[in-house]
């Protein structure tokens, strides 16, 4: 375990230093539960966690969007990442939700106005008994609370059916569970339904694929590239009358 300084002279591996000094390590092994989960399974490795293959860790990333604002534990993040990947999977056509960083997008949205329902009418009474689906959103729960319940239910269903966490299941097992959610064959709690959660998750997944990359998803504009959507352009006046399809390199808002 090294405490060497990086090129800028800033102390690296600060959490490891913290751990070492905090007394949470015993003979080099990390004892703490949550922090142990963060740091990865190989204490002593000098390799930053996020460069490990397949790792979506919360630290040492050069992409500032790849940090968590809402989820507090890796398990929840992995559950949403796996569920979003089934909604928008990697295929021959192009990358799926995971490679597009959609779970980071969802995390950021849950931390902000959307997750907190700041621009929605959230005054009571909440008359679920009088509610019909056609009259829309009628729960006192905010979207982030519906996600929390949904994640819990995805994992408890996975546990019941397969004795595993949702993100540890095979793809077709995950799909089968999501279909049950969509069809309300799983009960969340009295204040919202599995299909409500599924609807929000589907909506957020599509948004994460195609929203401007500044929101954390649509990594490298790969969502737009798949669809041949040019993003933010000033004018299409020159091509509007063209009969043939015009392929353009997409531009994000950060290019202005």
């Amino acid at each position: 375990m090294s405490d060497k300084k990086n090129q800028n002279g800033v102390q690296d591996n600060s959490r490891r230093v913290f751990l070492k000094n905090s007394g949470l390590t015993v003979g080099g092994l990390i004892v703490g539960g949550a922090l142990g989960g963060l740091i990865g399974k190989k204490p002593g490795s000098s390799k930053p966690a996020s460069t490990e293959p397949g790792g979506h860790q919360m630290s040492n990333s050069s992409n500032p969007s790849r940090a968590l604002m809402y989820f507090t534990n890796q398990e929840d993040f992995s559950t949403i990442e796996a569920a979003a990947e089934q909604i928008f999977p990697k295929t021959d056509v192009g990358p799926g939700a995971k490679d597009l960083d959609v779970a980071y997008y969802i995390d950021h949205q849950l931390a902000g106005n959307w997750g907190l329902n700041t621009k929605e009418y959230m005054s009571g009474p909440f008359s679920l008994a009088d509610s019909v689906p056609e009259l829309g959103y009628q729960t006192h729960l905010k979207r982030h609370e519906i996600f929390d319940l949904g994640i819990q239910a995805l994992n408890s269903t996975a546990q019941k059916k397969h004795k595993k966490k949702f993100h540890e299941l095979e793809g077709d097992q995950q799909v089968a569970i999501l279909k049950d959610f969509e069809a309300d064959k799983v009960k969340l709690n009295g204040a919202t339904s599995a299909s409500n959660f599924f609807g929000l998750l589907r909506k957020a997944t599509i948004e994460g694929v195609y929203a401007d990359p500044m929101y954390g998803g649509n990594k490298d504009m790969a969502g737009w590239k798949m669809k041949n959507f040019p993003g933010h352009q000033m004018s299409y006046k020159d091509i509007i009358e063209k009969d043939s399809f015009v392929k353009m390199d997409p531009k994000s808002l950060s290019s202005m």
């Binding site: 192009g94 009418y121 694929v209 195609y210 929203a211 669809k227 933010h232 009358e241």
Partner: protein, 571 residues
Amino acid sequence: MAKKLPKTDIVTVGVGWVGGIIASELTKKGYKVVGLERGKSRSTQDYLKVHDELRYAQRYELMQDLSRETVTIRHNLKQKALPYREWGSFLFGDGLGGSGVHWNGQTYLFLPYDFEIYSKTVEHYGKNKIPKGMTIQDWGITHDELLPYYNQFLKMSGISGEPNPLKGSPQYKYPTKPMLESSEMKLFKDAASKLGYHPYSMPSANLSENYTNPDNISRGACQYCGFCERFGCEYGAKADPVVTVLPVAEKTGKYELRTHSVVRKVLHSGGKATGVLYVDTRTGEEYIQEAEVVVLSAYQMNNVKIMLNSKLGKPYDPKTGQGVIGKNYAYQVNFGGSTGFFDKEYNVFAGAGALGANLDDFNGDFFDHSDLNFIHGANVRIGKSGNRPIQNNAVPAGTPSWGKEFKDASIKYANRTISVGAQGASMPWADNYLDLDPTYKDAFGDPLVRMTFNWKDQDKQLGKYLGEKTAGILKEMGASKVNQGGQKVGDYDIRNYQSTHNTGGSIMGADPETSALNNYLQMWDCENVFSAGANAFGHNSGYNPTGTVGALAYRAAEGIEKYLKKGGSLA
């Protein structure tokens, strides 16, 4: 205790198209106008980074903050109404320019038939054609009488268009040439012509060319950037109140705009308003703005709410049919559109809000309804406003809505999908109406508007008929697969966006027993209150409403001046 402010000639409640037109017309004549706007100020400078689908289209940046105020909705008189908690079916604008900023710019003039719908229906088909409970009535003004005001709006906003080739259709001279024609528009026009229909380019407030209007306001041409609907125009090419009428009012020195000002009530006694009570949302302080004339120029639903909360006019009772405030609420029948899937790729991302082509062969009374169990119809159109990727993921019927198959199909067809829409007319019914909700309140403790509305057989039959027509056009256009619309329609579903064309609730007419406003948009029951929004429509036509709202605003401006000169009822 509300603070009293010095009296002005005219106060407008809301600064969108109606508030803007009233401000410009009456300040030009030398009157003092105060504009109260609940939202913030804004200009083209605020749209530098407007090409953001998530922020503007999915998160409704330009729309009213529902946490402060919304409406409640139920399907029938027996149900308990529940709040419209998140945006879905329709969107109300907020901030300077109101819905006149986020509109698409599709600018139509209603048909002569629309203004005399009751008389013409009876004349053509007899009284029995009107089903029990349908409360259509004439508007108390004819198309010819309204035409000069329509022309004022067309010239002020610089509408681009071409003549409607349909025999018997009203003819207008548009001030600017039609928009450029895309290959999808050409395909639609060719197919429609082959089927014997009469297509023409959509009349557009997105300027086709640089234009200077009669008020000497110059604006540049549209760039077809594809971010129009739900967005403000950074070029000022799309006509909105902020780039057209408001600068004219400001220049006179007679206009005072106050943003962040929410009007709660119109104060009145003995059939005359004294002014309005409003809250400055930045300081929390209440003010009374006294005025000779009060103009309710907010969004349709909010105008009705203020009338009801102010106890202006007699509320409508659906059981007796008596009363007028809340009566004849109507919407738009948009489920008759169809979606076609093509082998060829089109530049679907490019476009403008009012770019498109349309036909009126199935609109109004241009076709024979003798053997049909509905009246009126729809403007059938192909809109090319620019398909954004989050909102547009159409897949052929039978494709799942998520997973591998969905993903691959939604990407394959992303640039191979063309929709033909049908903007169906919505008729008023005795039990589709607006009143105050007994339970839910806004941020100031005032009752919300309660909307009681559901689709009727008329709507379902109309939608089914239009679905056949729109699917037929797509097949002629060469679509390999078509999702035909209008075939299965359940209860009104607020979850999916349909149209922001809410109309009625305080309608104009010739008789104070059956209408709230006379044909100068003056309240029968309160002579110095005017309201020229879509709330004045007796029913909703097969067109977008803004052209008619604009014409009625010019008509109201003339009425207000007449009233200020001689007082009393103008009709």
